[in-house]
């Protein structure tokens, strides 16, 4: 499991982050931390706001008249292309495609199931680091505002809505095929997938946790696919799914 950045790590790299002077992977970690951390990180945010005014130090540039027309033509074409897709989306409700998997379970039952699974995880998980993470998880579970069961051929897990963000938790998931990772998705009410994270450490005896990159606002479902690296759109069928409605 990839160690998460501490607040001090983020603050130490605040200037480099603000002006985009970090490697993309580190930049991403900091962005996700700032998105989910309850600490204010005031200086980091102020420096970011300062850096975002740097383009104002440049001489003004006047776009050619053709540029606006070109952009609008492209947008119009995109709108025309997706018009049939809208019709299909409205004709096939998302729920219909999700009929086979379990619906949202009562919070109390799900909570008990999560605690039980994590207790089993104690036996399965040997690493001290993961034991510490399990304890953190148990606290998160206890404070969860809502839980959703996630099921599928790869195993089972839970989505936990907590004050600190949304967690995907699973114990003992089947490992993805070689050279694959699990990618996590939220699906909006039109069935459009939004990438929300990756899970790289699934396998027997592993307690997996991922903090999603965004909250569940507007999401109708959650899904996990096996991918050859992170992708923008899923290329395989889901191995885990959950209804969030």
């Amino acid at each position: 499991m990839t160690p998460r950045l501490e607040c001090g790590d983020v603050d130490a790299l605040a200037a480099e982050y603000a002006v985009g002077a970090l490697e993309p992977s580190m930049e991403r970690e900091i962005a996700v931390h700032l998105r989910t951390c309850p600490a204010p990180h005031t200086e980091t945010r102020e420096w970011l706001a300062v850096a975002e005014r740097l383009p104002d130090s440049l001489d003004a540039a006047e776009p050619s008249p053709a540029l606006r027309n070109r952009i609008m033509r492209t947008i119009t074409r995109l709108e025309q292309e997706r018009a049939p897709a809208r019709t299909e989306a409205h004709g096939r409700p998302v729920r219909g495609r999700f009929g086979w998997f379990s619906q949202r379970v009562a919070s109390g039952v799900a909570l008990a199931a999560v605690v039980l699974a994590l207790a089993v995880g104690v036996r399965l998980v040997q690493l001290e680091q993961q034991t510490a993470e399990r304890e953190q998880l148990l606290r998160a579970v206890a404070a969860a505002e809502a839980t959703y069961a996630v099921t599928g051929p790869a195993g089972e897990g839970w989505i936990l809505e907590t004050e600190q963000g949304v967690l995907f938790v699973a114990a003992d998931l089947e490992a993805p095929p070689p050279d694959h990772i699990y990618e996590l998705w939220l699906l909006d009410r039109q069935g459009q997938p939004i990438p929300v994270g990756v899970l790289t450490d699934a396998g027997e005896g592993v307690l997996s946790t991922v903090r999603l990159d965004r909250d569940l606002g507007g999401a109708a479902a959650f899904a996990v696919t096996a991918e050859r690296g992170r992708v923008e759109r899923p290329t395989t069928d889901p191995v885990l799914v959950a209804s969030l409605e």
Partner: protein
Amino acid sequence: MFRSAASFTFRPALPLPTSRPPAVRDSQPGAPGMLPSDADLVQRIKAGDTNALGEVYDRYASLALATARRVLGDPAAAEDVVHDAFVGMWRRMSQFDADRGSLRSWLLTMVRNRAIDRIRARRPQLDLDQADELALLRSEAATTADEAMKRIATGDVRAAVDRLPSEQRRAVELAYFEGYTYREIASITGVPEGTASGRLRLALSKLRGALVGSEAAPEYVARLEQSGGHR
């Protein structure tokens, strides 16, 4: 086993608008004669209003083009980048939350990413989809401080940047407009990595102090100066 869930398939990868109006920070229409807020424009774009994108273009195209030109030095390539960034914004607008993020910041980050991607042959190319996603996250992080920064005049920003010591200004330009990491900046300028980072910190502290002011800022900058930017 990975095809065993065949009864469950994703829809074709086509962008669709959200089916319900998004929450926006200032959704009340502006007074007669006033320009619509960014949040209003976002709401209209999410509803499929292409004219709203045109209004966003009119508001930010000049700044976006200036940024792309500064990075690329090629006016035609810069217009290509601005085109792609606006199209990217349109495609991803359903993911943008005007309550959390700055439209200006998001757009300029996409422009910068695309422009730098064009000139950075020496480093693996950015995954633009991931970079756009990251741009969304970045756009959210500065919004609290951004309220004060929005009130700063453009001329004041330029003056503050011009007043930076040359080595600090150079470090900021290499990072922000040329896409170098602090490690690369250290190598380019022949200083230790800590010094390169320190110059960035000093530059941002001075800019912040110059632009929004703070009683604590001068002392803080003085401490940073004494330590060469190390905290």
